[in-house]
Symmetry: C2
Subunit: 408 residues, 2 copies
């Protein structure tokens, strides 16, 4: 069993981090660097948006099986920047490699911020030289690194656990993620903007990539803030083996711990969705296949009508069924069941294709359930045994405000 | 050439309409009736949402090739109402048939309003009896009928034209539509809530259904207010042949006139999208196939980030490309061109995969283009000859407000 601890990306052995101000942003930290003192097995998931930012293109092309450092900047996504953007992303890797005396192929690069503007490489290079001199292994370094990745985020999305593997070794997993808007990642390993970095001192082989895909598909790829997949989504897992564990690729304890960490991160991203006042969790059960369950979750969680009803605690549950009907998943309306949960209140809404109640008092109970910081929607499709869970947030005035003046 | 005239659904010969207050809504008109003095060829498009409202189910089952009357109520969608809802929809048809002395199979039925509540049939029947006595052919009757269909609509969506067919006959087409939210129709003929009724005194055969599908696909099915397809979308074309024209199924003048009317209606629905302050028109050209062009239009027009940027006249055009990249359509990023038009300003934004400009003055021009009541986005995918146009609206504080308190 994984035990949650107070920690971050430098909690696993052999990792150091830094976060500095390069000047791309006016005041806030905007450049971060993560370093492992030995090359680490890297499993990376990238956005499947056809318009990929320059750093994503550069990393996918090299596709290094091992990484020793990752540089991240915020304030500029280096996306839609043509050849010059590619050159700039390569220059970022080279600057880090020179500063740390390592192979440029061992350097990962991530960017987040405004799309369609060229990078100011003078500032970025200044930031990199400052960051290479500030690397540290401490909670303070975790914090500075986390801060340097943030854009519209209002909270740090950090999680750390320790877990004893089946071979008896105690290993650590630390994760940091940013992401608040333009969030519906469909990241594919090997081949938005949420950026995540997960470090562990467990030993993994590059074959772990397939399992990493499964873990992403059940966690961060099930988050949607606005249904808009970013050009920059990247999620890097670094395993440096410093715990001297045996290969943990198939260790159920390790996999469960990593899934726990990633679910925690997914939950945090949805909760801090741009302008969000409530977390919405959607559980679909009884689906004919996994894909159907995921489709149903995503369609419900992305419906602006469902999202704004939950914002206003407006008991307009018909909208959930409207969204389900548009999802393309198979269900039997005569047997579908719908339940809404919030706080201590759990209300069955729909049974056998018709509402369970019609009276105003019951409608008031639905409103009470919806009037909570976390609202859970449970839909039983009644046609099979597959299920999926996803996380989103309500649609608020603040979402509109934030995104009506982002570039301004 | 079709000539736009001041008219509505009773402008074509032989049509009468009424709009009354039945009591389902507190004060506003909530029940409408349309009648043709002879049975009319009916082409009907229905929502493809798997959760279909009772009136849609009832009409699809009978699938009458001819209709003589259509009853519409607002305030209650009669959706998610199980067997009782089906009985109520049938009872509405029967009440109209009795009142008018026609076959119940000749009566169409449409509902719009809140989902998941049973109909108050006492009120509905009272309204029907009142409406059957108030049928008239006049602009006032058009108005009352239009008003009785409205929910969150703030404007009437009405259009009428007269057109001389190739056989020399002068025929009339009149259309009325309601729809403001839960709008991304994908209506299929034969097999949002936007409800539309189109009347004509031209002669059509039931084979016209296929052409009706094409016209819907290029007009009303290209509208999206919120990407949420309703359980109730229905679009009925009634052709009563009272002009004594030859069969106009293949008459290019008639088809062009009908397409014009439906595009006009589509435009009006998008413009009156819930909370909308601006109309967004997206034109995709140079696509490899029609389906790709439509997919690209829909993904851009549905992106909450694009919609809120346009609300704030925020020149964050990178989001348009982000959405394009998620659409699944084929394009060549090295040749894609993006242009934004508003008022008299037309700005090329992207050429050959990189922004045309980087300076703040040009960015200001983009803002000026976006600061208009109608903003057009033109994307050239540069891989083929297909194109599509769609209509949507911005995402505003008012959209959130309206939908956070709809059921309340």
């Amino acid at each position: 069993m994984a035990e949650v601890i107070d920690g971050g990306v430098t909690t696993p052995q052999g990792f150091k981090a830094a976060g500095v101000h390069s000047g791309v942003k006016y005041r806030s930290l905007d450049l971060g660097l993560l370093y492992s003192d030995v090359p680490a097995t890297a499993c990376v998931g990238y956005t499947s948006n056809a318009v990929k930012a320059a750093p994503v293109q550069v990393m996918m092309k090299e596709n290094s099986p091992k990484l020793q450092a990752v540089v991240v900047n915020s304030g500029n996504a280096n996306a839609l920047t043509g050849c010059r953007g590619i050159e700039d992303a390569i220059a970022m890797k080279n600057a880090v490699a020179t500063g740390l005396g390592i192979d440029p192929k061992m350097v990962g690069v991530m960017s987040t911020g405004l799309i369609g503007r060229f990078m100011d490489m003078h500032k970025i290079k200044y930031g990199i030289s400052k960051a290479t001199l500030s690397l540290e292994s401490s909670r303070e370094a975790d914090d500075l690194f986390a801060e340097s990745m943030m854009t519209t985020d209002t909270t740090k999305k950090e999680c750390a656990v320790r877990v004893r593997l089946t071979d008896g070794t105690l290993v650590y997993i630390g994760a940091i993620s940013k992401g608040s808007g333009m969030i519906e990642p469909h990241m594919r390993v090997l081949h938005g903007t949420t950026l995540s970095l997960v470090t562990t001192d467990a030993t993994l082989s590059t074959n772990f990539r397939e399992k990493w895909q499964n873990i992403l598909d059940d966690s961060i790829n099930m988050v949607s803030v606005d249904g808009d997949q970013s050009t920059n989504d990247t999620c890097i897992l670094l395993a440096n083996g410093r715990s001297s564990s045996k290969c943990a690729d198939d260790d159920p304890e390790f996999i469960a711990a990593l899934q726990f960490v990633m679910n925690n991160i997914a939950h945090s991203i949805a909760k801090d969705g741009e302008g969000a006042s409530k977390l919405i969790q959607v559980q679909v059960i009884g689906a004919e296949c996994k894909d159907d369950a995921r489709k149903a979750v995503k369609t419900i969680i992305n419906s602006p009508l469902v999202k704004s009803a939950i914002f206003g605690s407006d008991p307009n549950y018909g909208r959930i069924m409207m969204a389900l009907g548009n999802s393309g998943c198979k269900f039997n309306l005569d047997n579908v069941r719908l339940t809404i949960k919030g706080g201590n209140v759990e209300v069955p809404i729909l049974d056998s294709g018709a509402p369970v109640f019609q009276d105003e008092r019951s409608v008031e109970v639905v409103r009470m359930a919806m009037d909570n910081k976390e609202v859970t929607i449970i839909v039983d499709l009644a046609v099979g045994d597959w299920s999926a869970t996803g996380w989103g947030c309500d649609l608020t005035y603040d979402y509109v405000r934030i995104n009506a003046e982002y570039a301004t």
